[in-house]
Symmetry: C2
Subunit: 141 residues, 2 copies
Amino acid sequence: MNSRRCAACKQLRRRCPSDCIFLPYFPPNNPQRFSFVHRIYGASNVGKFLQQVQEHQRANVADSLYYEAYCRIKSPVYGCVGIISILHQEIDRLERELVKVQAEISLVKGQTQIEGQLAQGQQVQLSSSSFHLSTTTPWFN
Amino acid sequence: MNSRRCAACKQLRRRCPSDCIFLPYFPPNNPQRFSFVHRIYGASNVGKFLQQVQEHQRANVADSLYYEAYCRIKSPVYGCVGIISILHQEIDRLERELVKVQAEISLVKGQTQIEGQLAQGQQVQLSSSSFHLSTTTPWFN
């Protein structure tokens, strides 16, 4: 047993064994972290979720459970599904923006091509008109 | 009491009162929906989450809890936080793509401007050279 109990054992008012499943992920200096997951999932479910994965994955389980619990407490109706929805909207907005900007690029490139062709045409016209001018001046002949 | 119990009361093997909190959101024809939230949150927590919001918000609570429970069962380490992470990566990718395409637009517009100025310059040069040509042809004078 530890001299300092983890946040879970402290809140559940029980002894904290040295192999306590909560100990590495719910330190006593952050009682809110355990309190949130306890309110949303219940301590026994949290313990079960930690047990059912490999040891190196448990920190990620604790972090993601805490994040979801935090979201559910702050937003009781949508939880973190509300965030997913906002992110989807943002992706839709960016995709629309990208399509718009890509269309703008095509337009600008198209205009550049037309202007290039026009400029070439004008050069040809100017060259021929300069010849025309040189052969039709009143002082010619 | 209903002649047909809701999915929650059926699974918990209890009577289903007509004012059952689960009844509108966990119909008997979709037992998986309740089974998933029960596995992740526990039936009493789900009932508590439904009770603590207004009636018109309860369908959204049930839907978002089911979505999160589904994600946690399919992805025991990250749950729907994994989806949030993927969506953030997608937003980063789209934002980078947008910056790239916007930079391309600026480049194309800049080139168009330079080409326009060059074309104007060429026209001026051609006009003056046409005059030069007409006044320096061997048959002039």
